[in-house]
Symmetry: C2
């Protein structure tokens, strides 16, 4: 044996090599959707390894959604009727600084009150519950980058009532204070309303890219944000290479041109 017990010449582990071998067969089309991939005991022979090793590879592929496994029947290539694209959504300060621009944050308004019907619906709480409503603008250098409209539930985050948000933007403030367990993003286009248009220096009804995010901690709604970006200047980018390498996915940037 010139090789060690764990690794072959190329330095990768055996199960990850089996995994990407199979992933390649699938993404190259050699094994079409519905094709039955070799049984574990067959792969065991092909690679000269134990069943646990091929099982690990196949389990990861199943988790990644590339294959489907059935007892007694075997493992099959899943049909890809839908593509999954992974968006990675960063903090706005990080986004701006990644562009080599100076980040500045300006609080436009801050009010504490009882949620009206519309606000309660957005946040997913009952009307009348106490909330903090914030509006602010994020700048990249001299130019407005993004307008933020936010509701924070005071039930979920009592501390938010006493915070002025003059130096710290509400996003990162919440992130360090409240752990979240679920989030929902809603991405859409819209015409800029008068407030947003003024804040971003756009003509009224100019197109804006809107990202709305609702965040929960357990079952409890925490916050609702609506981020408006001038169209043309910003795009969300999601790259996706199916499974195999797992982190082959992802990266989103919001980039200025």
């Amino acid at each position: 044996m010139t090789e060690t017990a764990n690794q072959s010449a190329d330095g990768r582990s055996l199960h990850s090599r089996i995994q990407s071998d199979i992933a390649d067969k699938i993404t190259s089309g050699a094994w079409a959707p519905g094709h039955r991939i070799p049984f574990e005991h067959e792969l065991t022979q092909q690679y000269g390894c134990s069943r646990m090793t091929v099982n690990k590879a196949l389990t990861v592929l199943a988790r990644a959604g590339l294959i489907e496994r059935h007892r007694r029947a075997g493992s099959f290539v899943k049909s890809r009727q839908s593509e999954a694209a992974v968006l990675e959504i960063h903090d706005i300060r990080v986004e701006v600084e990644a562009l080599g621009l100076e980040y500045r944050y300006v609080l436009a308004s801050r009010r504490r009150h009882a949620a009206d019907e519309a606000e309660a619906a957005r946040l997913g709480i009952a009307a009348g519950e106490p909330v903090v409503k914030l509006a602010c603008v994020h700048f990249a250098g001299e130019r407005p980058f993004c307008h933020e409209d936010r509701l924070v539930s005071l039930d979920a985050v009592p501390d938010a009532g006493g915070e002025a948000f003059e130096n710290t933007a509400p996003g990162p403030w919440l992130l360090t204070r409240v752990p979240w367990s679920a989030a929902e993003h809603r991405i859409m286009a819209d015409a800029a309303g008068p407030v947003v248009a003024a804040a971003l220096g756009l003509k009224p009804d100019a197109p804006v890219l809107v990202v709305e995010r609702r965040t929960w901690s357990g079952e409890q709604p925490v916050t609702f944000v609506r981020l408006s970006y001038p169209a043309g200047a910003h795009a969300l980018v999601a790259r996706f290479a199916p499974a195999g390498d797992s982190q082959a996915a992802a990266t989103t940037m919001i980039s200025t041109r």
Copy 2:
């Protein structure tokens, strides 16, 4: 022993229970970012199981990005500076039919020619290479749902030259013919140009949600699509609950109101 060798009373496997126990500690905030989670041999004792079992749970959590693992040092809760949102992008026919509407597809134009500079750049090929350029409109019931502009590389898909695309939309046609190994999505807002506005029945410069997708097969660019949806009527939705359950993620719909 009233329990079987593999499963406890609740029917879930032990490693998945360990996994979600830890995931809960993290998402609830009990274990903050940077916190060192118990060593494998400690968890082994807590759960009265072998190291392989806790290793499996921790490996999955590491793949999911919830924890970081270092030899000799231990495993640590990762700081979540960025949120990953998973968009699931379906075929347009499926989207429309999911809304209970009748799907119809109309080819507006189809041309075969040599790619000019702009087209070559979009597709990622050399100028002068042969392409098919398509424009079509997808209808949901009577109303236009989405305008599609597409370039297909004839180097990658020679068959596309002889296809009329009168009955099958180019998206599904390509999907069954050409396996793809990577895709990049670009989501943005824009003002509708005259052609798109006319096709969608909008006023010129009305805001539209634009999804651009570039697809590769191996290293070779296959197709570039630009899908324009009327703003207000459509949104991309991505739900995300971090790891633990893995498929707790995702679903995107493009919904009409």
